[in-house]
């Protein structure tokens, strides 16, 4: 069934132009934002406003929330022994004008060609349990359906994309920035792992907005983990 692939190649790239990722040092998780992480490991990081980070969450392998200490200065940190760590951020409303993009709702940006609300999240997995095979939030989220740490290069990672806690269709899923598929009615999409070590998957979903501040909402979710050596 080739039909969705046409759209897939055309719609995904702009949404995934920036990446969120989490580094971990002991129990300290740090949120990073930058250009071209997908294409170049460790490429330059961009500073972000810490207030854009709405939530920093820590979970055990059963998917239960764990207490963790959040540092809200730049770069935002989360200190805890998390099997899964998750940061949710939003840079707010954006309006495309003839003079460039402005970080304003369309009601305040003058002549507006396009407008959107950007919501982003990143989830890092460091251990696995069955509780992590279901969504941890109601935001757009990539959920592995099985233990990703048992996989090796060439294996398929079977994923479900969820939104508001339920499987969602139509989310474009990319592997290191390269679109690989679109989630079906069951939210599922499969991606073959092509690299050793660090893994980065991104999903994006556009939905119409009716709040008058923007035309649409663009959710982007990132999943990262590391294959065992």
């Amino acid at each position: 069934m080739y039909l969705p692939l046409l759209l897939l190649t055309l719609t995904c790239a702009p949404v995934l132009a920036h990446d969120l990722w989490i580094t971990r040092d002991g129990t300290l998780h740090t949120l990073h934002y930058g250009h071209e992480r997908s294409g170049h490991e460790g490429a330059k990081a961009l500073e972000y406003r810490p207030e854009q980070v709405r939530q920093a969450l820590c979970f055990d392998v059963a998917g239960r929330p764990l207490r963790a200490v959040v540092g809200m200065r730049y770069p935002v940190t989360l200190d805890g022994d998390c099997a899964a760590s998750l940061f949710l951020a939003s840079s707010g409303y954006w309006s495309k004008t003839p003079y460039g993009s402005k970080n304003l709702p369309k009601t305040e940006a003058g002549l507006v060609l396009d407008s959107w609300l950007a919501v982003e999240s990143v989830k890092r997995l460091d251990a696995w349990g069955s509780g992590l095979a279901r969504p941890l939030t109601r935001e757009l989220e990539i959920v592995p359906l099985g233990n990703p740490f048992t996989l090796k290069v060439g294996d398929k990672l079977r994923l479900m994309v969820t939104f508001e806690g339920k499987p969602v269709a139509g989310a474009t899923v990319a592997y290191f920035g390269q679109p690989r598929g679109v989630s079906g009615a069951d939210g599922q999409v499969n991606v073959r792992l092509q690299r050793p070590g660090f893994q980065l998957l991104q999903a994006s979903l556009e939905t119409p907005l009716t709040d008058a501040k923007a035309d649409r909402r663009i959710d982007t979710a990132t999943l990262q983990f590391e294959l065992p050596q």
């Binding site: 069934m1 080739y2 039909l3 969705p4 692939l5 046409l6 897939l8 190649t9 055309l10 398929k156 899923v173 679109p179 690989r180 598929g181 679109v182 989630s183 079906g184 009615a185 069951d186 599922q188 999409v189 499969n190 991606v191 073959r192």
Partner: protein, 325 residues
């Protein structure tokens, strides 16, 4: 006349029943597996989608005796097709062929609509076990082995007793088989890299004995096909939704002897290996296939007496057009 009996037998069914190029549903995919022009690939139609299809197969035959006006000169096999995806794993097709067959100047000519055909295609794949083709596949899923099993039949809607200009009936120039013929086969497709796809097909067509209005009875020999193809992605212009693939194919065709009421017919049947060089272009939801097909090895049963049969073409030029809607 006898020498040409395989003309109808071998060419018409292959055009009618094999869903050549139809499987090039990659018309909708700028990425994903390629599809050859002649060999059927293992794609099924998306559920709820229609496929419109047009094919022209122009055969130019070798002629040997300028004084014999009954030597076959050209044949054009047109085919209109309509397909529908009932489920992600089952598609059905309806084909209406139109044939034009011409002998050398001063010889005979026949033209007209021939037997309508129906075909069903069941798609499945190997992904940690065999399973029916799912509704949604990623580019990585499309790189799994995919298969189809197809089966179809012709309906005797054409005029099998079509009479030539002299009032005679030549089964080779007829516009139908008189009775249903049956086709079945398997395809296998593997996209081995992002740019290269291998496709294999094995199929057979069987015919029933039919007694024509002039009293002659004939059962055409069974046809067996073994095809292998390589589709190579050459160019993509995503902003223009354009893709170009090159195709290289080997098509084996084994034709059994025809049988009349008095037994096996001389000057019929044999084995042919064709080489096919083709291009496939994709633009939006359209796909255009172009190919040149030539026999590169033949072992016909009575080679010298089979002018106009398969294996005796100078070339065949093939054009296909398909659109998904």
């Amino acid at each position: 006349m006898k020498a040409r009996r395989t003309l109808l037998l071998a060419l018409l069914p292959s055009s009618v029943l094999a869903h050549h190029g139809v499987a090039s549903l990659g018309a909708a995919g700028l990425e994903g597996p390629g599809a050859p022009v002649e060999t059927s690939s293992s794609a099924t139609l998306p559920q709820g989608k229609w496929l419109g299809y047009l094919k022209l197969d122009h055969a130019q035959y070798r002629t040997y005796d300028p004084a014999d006006a009954t030597e076959a000169d050209t044949a054009q096999y047109w085919m209109l097709g309509l397909g529908y995806g009932f489920t992600p794993w089952f598609s059905a097709y309806l084909f209406q062929p139109y044939n034009i067959k011409k002998d050398e100047p001063d010889g005979f000519e026949s033209r007209g609509f021939t037997d309508l055909s129906l075909m069903g295609v069941l798609g499945f794949k190997y992904d940690e076990g065999l399973r029916l083709t799912p509704a949604n596949e990623s580019l990585d899923d499309l790189m799994d082995w995919h298969f189809t099993a197809y089966a179809g039949l012709t309906l005797p809607t054409g005029e099998a007793n079509h009479r030539l200009q002299d009032g005679s009936i030549d089964p080779a120039m007829s516009l139908g088989f008189g009775k249903s013929s049956f086709a079945y086969g398997l395809t296998a497709t593997k996209q081995v890299t992002s740019d290269t796809t291998l496709v294999f097909e094995a199929g057979q067509m069987r015919f029933q004995k039919y007694t024509y209005a002039d009293g002659q009875s004939l059962r055409f020999g069974t046809e067996t096909r073994l095809n292998a193809a390589l589709a190579q992605h050459l160019m993509t212009l995503p902003e223009r939704r354009f893709r170009l693939d090159g195709n290289l194919e080997l098509n084996y065709l084994g034709i059994g002897r025809d049988r009349t009421s008095s037994g096996p017919e001389a000057a019929t049947g044999g084995d042919i290996l064709y080489g096919v060089l083709g291009l496939r272009l994709y633009k939006d939801n359209l796909s255009l296939g172009l190919a040149l097909k030539r026999p590169i090895w033949t072992d016909l049963n009575e080679e010298a007496a089979q002018q106009g049969a398969e294996g005796k073409e100078r070339y065949r030029a093939i054009l296909t057009f398909s659109t998904l809607f």
